[in-house]
């Protein structure tokens, strides 16, 4: 048995380590100060896909991402770790998409890719933390979803068994392929880049990257299909422009504010015994503790 697996991935700014220079004076985010990374839970998703490929030789793992041209970086990253190929969905009409418009575009691209057995994605992306795109893609493809997965336990014939990690426990669920699975950060980490695969794919480029920079030429590029990363526009996937990007987004951002907390007047103490004892006695006396 071999499986056709599509992994949905997103390139995101690394919001986990936001320094002071990441915020501009006017309160907006200075994206250029943040590294662009492979969304962490999408890496957990990729690992689940690669494990199935290990188990069922002949299976294919195909990455699909939507983003600006530089998002091709995460397709290469996926190839270095063991994916077989990838598609970059990039077009100005996708700009400003909320989750609904994003899932519309992604589902059109999946239709274009063709038949699949399994779609796997991270539970959520760290720039929005919404966890919406996975279930919305599943709904648009009219297939079931299994969210919050920690482990794809088994795939036998068309039956899939998945362990879900919820707030207060676990669930083992059984479903039929095709299905869309979203994977939690508690799932095993993704395997590292493989040196041989880095050698093989370091010159992999999209058509526009190739056009923009033919100085990093690799003689074999034109004759090596596996180095050609597929790049699709809205028209390539037959997407209706009205349902893409800002115009296809029911939610609108009315206002953005930087977060400012009311500073308090505070009492500063050191770690000496006398100061800490005074504080504790004060808290006991005013019945905060004790």
């Amino acid at each position: 048995m071999s499986l056709r697996i599509i992994v949905l991935a997103k390139q995101v700014p690394d919001t986990r380590n936001v320094g002071k220079d990441a915020m501009k004076a006017d309160g907006t985010v200075n994206r250029s100060a943040l590294a662009a990374i492979f969304n962490p839970e999408d890496l957990n998703a990729l690992e689940q896909a690669l494990r199935l490929k290990d188990q069922f030789p002949g299976s294919t793992v195909t990455l699909l991402t939507m983003g600006p041209p530089r998002a091709a970086d995460i397709i290469r990253e996926g190839l270095f770790r063991g994916a077989d190929g990838g598609y970059l969905l990039t077009d100005r009409v996708f700009a400003g998409a909320d989750t609904l418009a994003t899932s519309y575009a992604l589902h059109k691209a999946i239709r274009k890719i063709g038949d699949f057995d399994l779609i796997i994605s991270g539970r959520q992306a760290i720039d929005g933390d919404t966890a919406q795109v996975g279930p919305q893609v599943a709904e648009k493809l009219n297939i079931p979803q299994i969210t919050y997965a920690e482990e794809i336990r088994s795939v036998e014939a068309s039956k899939i068994t998945v362990k879900r990690r919820l707030e207060r426990g676990i669930e083992i669920v059984e479903g039929r392929l095709p299905v869309l699975v979203t994977v939690n950060g508690s799932a095993p980490a993704c395997r590292p880049r493989n040196a041989k695969l880095i050698q093989k794919y370091k010159y992999a480029k999209t058509t526009s990257e190739r056009q923009a920079d033919d100085t990093v030429s690799f003689r074999g590029y034109d004759s090596s299909d596996y180095l050609h990363l597929k790049e699709w526009s809205a028209a390539d996937v037959n997407a209706d422009g009205k349902q893409c990007g800002l115009s296809g987004s029911p939610t609108k951002v009315k206002k953005i504010e930087s977060v400012v907390f009311q500073a308090k007047e505070s009492k500063t103490l050191d770690s000496s015994d006398s100061q800490i004892e005074t504080l504790i006695v004060e808290l006991i006396t005013n019945h905060t503790i004790g």
Binding site: Q132, V133, V253, V259, T268, D273, I276
Partner: protein, 337 residues
């Protein structure tokens, strides 16, 4: 028609706190909009749901009672909400930002092509102008974005229902009137679901009622990445046990494996409002502060005198957590009766 709907999460016949919190908020919003508050219960053996939700001000309770609807699975609950919303046309639909609400909400919003805002921290009613058109009485869905560094107000001008999820503990749960009486509507489940909705089956399930009760604790002692290690994090437990409080953690401490996820305080965890909050080795990222800033008294223990958390603390103890925490324990034991 055009009412405000709350989807109820029900575990073993008991309506979860997050849903009661949403009913409380929903009641206030419905009053402002002069519309009714309707609750939707989908599950099995739901006979006591009415008495649980009417005191919070629900005007209508929709019951979908069928053995196959509990425990929750995505497809049948989606089919029910989609068909119910298509006929009732709610203006607003709220659900918990839990593993259920975050599974169900997006699927329903996709089917209805309506906007959904995840993890709101505030909901308000207001007007909106766009392209020379004024929309009145929209739901302002206010949520943190970008790792908590900004707060965005989101509106859905044209599509209905306006959908939003809210985490447990963000809204306050308050009984409106113990004698409040609403109407119960029992629906024929078979009109809403089909056999293909049951392709996913749950073969095993271990859900514990929450061991951790940080949300309602009067004293919370929290540790951050600055605790250094899981071993050092035990100091947080020692202090919490001594003071009779609960243990919390920052996202960084949870990510580092010092504490379990259900103890995480902040925008992507629990919101707390204790009378005393002790933050140890927590620098005070915005996303953490948002989950504890309403604490009555805040003590920050940190070796960095410029840690952002110090700005909102009542007491700042500058020093190593390994030195300060044992001293706090020692002097509490010495002085308490």
């Amino acid at each position: 028609m055009n009412n405000l709907y709350v989807y109820l999460e029900i575990e073993n016949g008991k309506v979860e706190d997050v849903s009661l919190e949403l009913l409380t908020k929903g009641r206030k919003l419905a009053d402002e909009l002069h519309c009714q508050l309707e609750a939707v219960a989908i599950g099995y053996q739901l006979h006591s749901v009415g008495e649980q939700v009417f005191p919070y001000g629900a005007d209508v309770l929709h019951i979908f009672d069928d053995k196959r609807l509990y425990p929750y699975t995505s497809l049948p609950h989606t089919s029910i909400l989609v068909k119910l919303f298509q006929s009732e046309k709610p203006q607003i639909a709220l659900m918990g930002a839990t593993s259920i609400g975050r599974d169900l909400g997006p699927r329903v919003s996709s089917a209805l092509c309506s906007g959904l805002t995840a993890d709101c921290t505030a909901l308000e009613i207001g007007d909106h102008e766009e392209k020379e058109k004024t929309y009145t009485n929209l739901l302002y869905q206010i949520r943190p974005a970008f790792g908590g560094n900004i707060v965005a107000t989101i509106v859905n001008p044209n599509n209905r229902p306006q959908m939003a999820t809210v985490r447990e503990g963000v809204m306050k749960k308050e009984i409106l009137n113990l004698g409040y009486k609403g109407k119960t509507v029992t629906h024929d489940v078979n009109q809403y679901v089909s056999d293909t909705d049951f392709v996913i089956s749950i073969i095993d399930r271990h859900i514990e009622s929450s061991k951790v009760n940080i949300k309602n604790a009067a004293i919370v002692v929290s540790g951050g990445y600055g605790m250094g290690s899981k071993e050092n994090f035990s100091l947080i437990y020692d202090l919490a046990n001594t003071l009779g409080g609960e243990v919390g953690a920052s996202r960084a401490a949870v990510d580092a494996g010092f504490a379990e996820h259900e103890r995480q305080i902040g925008q992507t965890g629990v919101t707390v409002r204790p009378k005393l909050y002790v933050a140890c080795g927590i620098s005070g990222q915005i996303q953490h502060i948002a989950g504890m800033q309403e604490s009555a008294i805040i003590i920050a223990v940190n070796n960095d005198p410029n840690a952002p958390i110090n700005a909102i603390a009542d007491y700042v103890i500058t020093g190593d957590v390994e030195t300060v925490i044992p001293k706090m324990i020692k002097y509490y034991k010495k002085n308490s009766k």
